[in-house]
Amino acid sequence: MSLKKIIPPEFLEPNWRLWSFVLLIALGILALFAFPMKGYDGYIDPFYSPTVVILPLIGLFRLTCYAFRKYYHRHLFGHPPGCSVSERLNEAKRAYSGETGFFRVENLHRYFMYFSAAILPFFFYDFYLSLFWQHSLALRFGSLFMLADTLAVTIWVFSCHSVRHIIGGRLDCFSCTFASRLGGSVFKFQSRLNARHEALAWASLALIIAADLYIRALAAGLPLDFTILVL
């Protein structure tokens, strides 16, 4: 059997979404376990905010996110490998249980979301801390970097489908009570972000890794940081 037959064809395609995820996750794992680093020069590494203990929950939040689910079901497990493939891999011979077997856990997404939402303030707090540097209030490039990654993560969490359900999606009538009117308006606004959920999921992950790499680069002595404003 040739190698081409063993490796699912989608792995050989130039599929930037899949490969960027694989790369980002590999970098994340390296950053966490192989080369842990808590921060440098007033910047706290996003992987260590607030504490590494809750990281598995954040990991589970990402893994059960509807955007990431789509990618691994399609590109890792090949269910389906593509929308327009006519003769699919082995067709009916492959076992499939969707989200009724092991992947039932996906239904716990909202609980992981609660934990993740709970740590968001820490990211903002880290940004705030990074402003106080050598006993003065200073805005450095690295702080902006941290702010960008914090905002991306916040918007991504807010655009989550479980959030959408909780804030208003679960209601059938938006104009019946005062609370549902409010819920309906938030739902409408959130739905616009939700439509971009996949892109936000990617961007937030990429920015976290980038912030981590940036702080590491500073720690390694690369002269990348500069001060924008000192008060």
């Binding site: 327009s84 699919r88 969707g98 989200e99 009724t100 479980s162 359900h165 999606g169 019946c176």
Partner: protein, 246 residues
């Protein structure tokens, strides 16, 4: 004159079919359905092809064009590239009747099993409800029942799981999200209709000619509503304490 090259699935409805090549003179704005009509009228009158409105409104001309489920009347031949051959096959999720015609009858049977609209108790007539309350249902009512989404869904196509399929989830969701309706169909969807088999890979949403956001606006919300009932440990614990069966 420029030619459109086509390879078209032919079959008598029994056993495996074969592919036949045709070449059709190109006309400005020609659709795949236009090309098939040319074949039917001038090259081979035995070709079975179904169509009706020619305006993407009836869903009759659903087929697979270059292996992608699409309406023939809505697909322009130039959009597929003039220098390649266009492959036209019937929807493969359903029994083939002849040539490009398949029989999606099963969908009408599934449709009949979805719990019908049931008004809430004690509503005063005339019913008053607002646009913003029915916007979500209205998106799903755009459906033209072409069944392309069913055809592309790998669960419907490859696995005999009992999953009703995306078209029927939006049908149930349209009723579920209606402010005057009393039933909770997410229990039915998650328990009997196999919604758990959908792994939200969004092919249905990608092919829908009406651009209904099937997965985002119907399937995921129904899954979330199901999670309330079946996977919420808090709700579960409370029901357990009260001695209610879930």
């Amino acid at each position: 004159m420029e030619k459109v090259r086509l390879t078209v699935y032919r079959s008598s409805g029994e056993g495996r079919g074969r592919f036949q090549e045709f070449s059709v003179p190109f006309e400005e704005g020609m659709t795949v359905l236009g090309a098939m009509r040319y074949v039917e009228q001038n090259l081979d009158t035995t070709l079975a092809v179904r169509w009706n409105c020619k305006a993407a409104r009836c869903g009759s001309c659903a087929a697979e064009i270059n292996e992608r489920p699409a309406l023939m009347c809505k697909t322009r031949v130039e959009s597929l590239g003039m220098d390649s051959t266009i492959t036209v096959t019937p929807m493969k999720a359903y029994p083939n009747v002849r040539d490009l015609v398949s029989d999606p009858t099963e969908n009408f049977d599934i449709s009949g099993r979805i719990p019908a609209f049931k008004p809430k108790k004690g509503l005063k007539k005339p019913w008053v409800f607002y646009e913003r309350d029915v916007e979500r249902s209205q998106e799903f009512r755009r459906c033209i029942e072409c069944f392309l989404c069913q055809d592309t869904c790998h669960v419907v196509r490859e696995h005999k799981s009992g999953y009703v399929g995306p078209r029927h989830v939006i049908e149930a969701a349209a009723l579920d999200m209606h402010p005057m309706d009393a039933l909770k169909r997410h229990v039915y969807l998650n328990r009997e209709a196999g919604l758990g088999f959908c792994n939200i890979t969004k092919c249905c949403q990608d092919v829908c000619p009406e651009h209904i956001r099937i997965t985002d606006n119907a399937i995921i919300p129904e899954k979330e509503r199901g999670a309330d009932v079946f996977y919420d440990p808090l709700v579960y614990a409370i029901k357990r304490l009260k001695g209610e069966n879930k």
